[in-house]
Symmetry: C2
Subunit: 386 residues, 2 copies
Amino acid sequence: MRQVAVVGIGKTAFGAFPDRDLRSLAVEAGQKALENAHATTSQVEAFYLGNFAGPSFVGQNHLAPYVAGGMGMTGIPATRFEAACASSGAAFFHAVSAVAAGLYDVILVTGVEKMTSQSTPKVTEILAGAGDVCGEVRAGATFPALFAMIARRHMYQYGTTREHMAAVAVKNHQNGAKNPLAHMRKVITMEQALSGKPISEPLTVYDCSLISDGAAAVLIAPFERASEFTDKPIRVLGISQTSDHVALDEKADITTFQAVQTSAEKAYKMAGVKSTDIQFAEVHDCFTIAEIVAIEDLGFVKKGEGGPYTLAGGTCIQGERPVNTSGGLKSKGHPVGATGVGQICDVAQQIRGEAGERQVKRNSLGLAQNLGGSGATSVVTILGAA
Amino acid sequence: MRQVAVVGIGKTAFGAFPDRDLRSLAVEAGQKALENAHATTSQVEAFYLGNFAGPSFVGQNHLAPYVAGGMGMTGIPATRFEAACASSGAAFFHAVSAVAAGLYDVILVTGVEKMTSQSTPKVTEILAGAGDVCGEVRAGATFPALFAMIARRHMYQYGTTREHMAAVAVKNHQNGAKNPLAHMRKVITMEQALSGKPISEPLTVYDCSLISDGAAAVLIAPFERASEFTDKPIRVLGISQTSDHVALDEKADITTFQAVQTSAEKAYKMAGVKSTDIQFAEVHDCFTIAEIVAIEDLGFVKKGEGGPYTLAGGTCIQGERPVNTSGGLKSKGHPVGATGVGQICDVAQQIRGEAGERQVKRNSLGLAQNLGGSGATSVVTILGAA
């Protein structure tokens, strides 16, 4: 297998854009990634699109050739990958695998979602499609409710508190406020985070990620060809995608995501690194409790220590292991299908030293963790400096 | 690249099954493919699911781990592929590529769609999502309307007649009547086909494929390991997936599908065969005109000769080059996401000599052609005897 490099990155701003349609967002991100790699569409051998629910949000399906055509690309395999909130993580995983195996040299991987044209109740219903509709959803559970159950159990089992979760929100808003592409560039205080409107107790509005429009794209190529595109290639050192049951009640322990643990182990092994070697990470904070569970499952801290570690500042930009310096899904925004590739862009930006006032000091080895549903899909990627 | 073999096939009946849900259909097909290959779920290294619009038809998204979990498979990459009516063709293409490249040895590829729980107008609206929603669909075009335009132009340009199209329907119903898994096992006469209720002129109800529930699955492995699973392995000799613009008005000539021509050329080249070497085929007759265009684009006949060739019996089971011996989408049924893998099963069945009274005599080299939308995705596969 060949080593794969990210040779171009491109993102739209994340936010609510009533005047933009899905395709224009995806095309913008793709074109930015190509420009960033000094590449043209004629060099793209395959197009991998991550999108969760375009047909439900905006009525358009068959999205991969639709977006590719919008960029002037035809005559290549153009395929949409869906794995709930890990849709573009899955697209990236399959694309990296294909380049590693020699199937293609140059693939454009784009993630996109256009959510804000629907009402919040409708968005909640569409998102619930990533859960077990005949079971959980019929019983009334939405995603905030599922993660509220996870939070309750984590509180019971490990003594995690609402302050611990609020600390995730405060940190991520602090980071996102400095990210020019973030959806909600607003610093919040611990008091605000603790007194937010209840959504599904113990989760308040400040524990929930945002409903956003946006797109992100990366151009990948074999590392040996990376210099044709960029003087700042990023190595994909390890990557794994793993599945688990969709319904929470089918999991042995809801305070941990087995798929995250397994995909992390495989990615670490592939990269030849240990969890403690990872210097910084973008993790899937769809809810604040999800970030706490993630840093535990990834092995950054022991099980149950995610909350205290966050409250003590361990994951701040100046901390021991910065997490979600982009602002995370909480503040940067969560256009579902764009999130996985967006994380890859964010980690790459840090490794390139282009994160501005959010720049971390130890920036040669970063990780991205993209979660689908309540843990039925996990994609873990380890990126490193060239 | 390694040669890949289909080592197990499994299909549900296609039809309207009010008592069956999407998952149970997909699980049944997958289990049948595993049984057919004398394999167990523990041998499956990755799960590739083709599905067009499960979230719109039944509300369930995140379908790959949902179906995999229903089969007791966790801890592997489980991913949904969407490319309109070529969704499972795309899943099969990516799976074959992955095994060829050495990424995995054993992949289960399943296609599924559950359509009949929605009303016909709603189904038509969901299917229209595979077209250009902001353009064609907003202007009032549904898929019957788009293919009616293709038919009109083909009639004008090549002298194709309604009798030519009706001959496709009569033949496919004749074949489907002998297929125990077909949706509509009913022989129709030329008179009936010509006097059907108009849907979008010149297309009548007998020119349109069916709205169906159903699933199909194949287990694939490297050819060198095929004997572990079956004594009747099928070789994947050539395969290609290609894209084109989604909107009809962006195509230079609507009487031909550029993506089909390109993917066929690539597949022939990979297999080292010519179009005239192909002995029989399953092609994507979503409408009767589509079968006529397909046999032309695949190079079985010259452009414009598809209609007369069909009327003269060239594509009958006893004819020169049998096409859609399964009954095709017209009579076998068209559960959109299941169609591509279903075609692979049907071609494999012929090569194995297991097609019963539909068995073709020259059965060592067959082709499957799976179309997405009005030609924005095409997957062409060439299968051969071991």
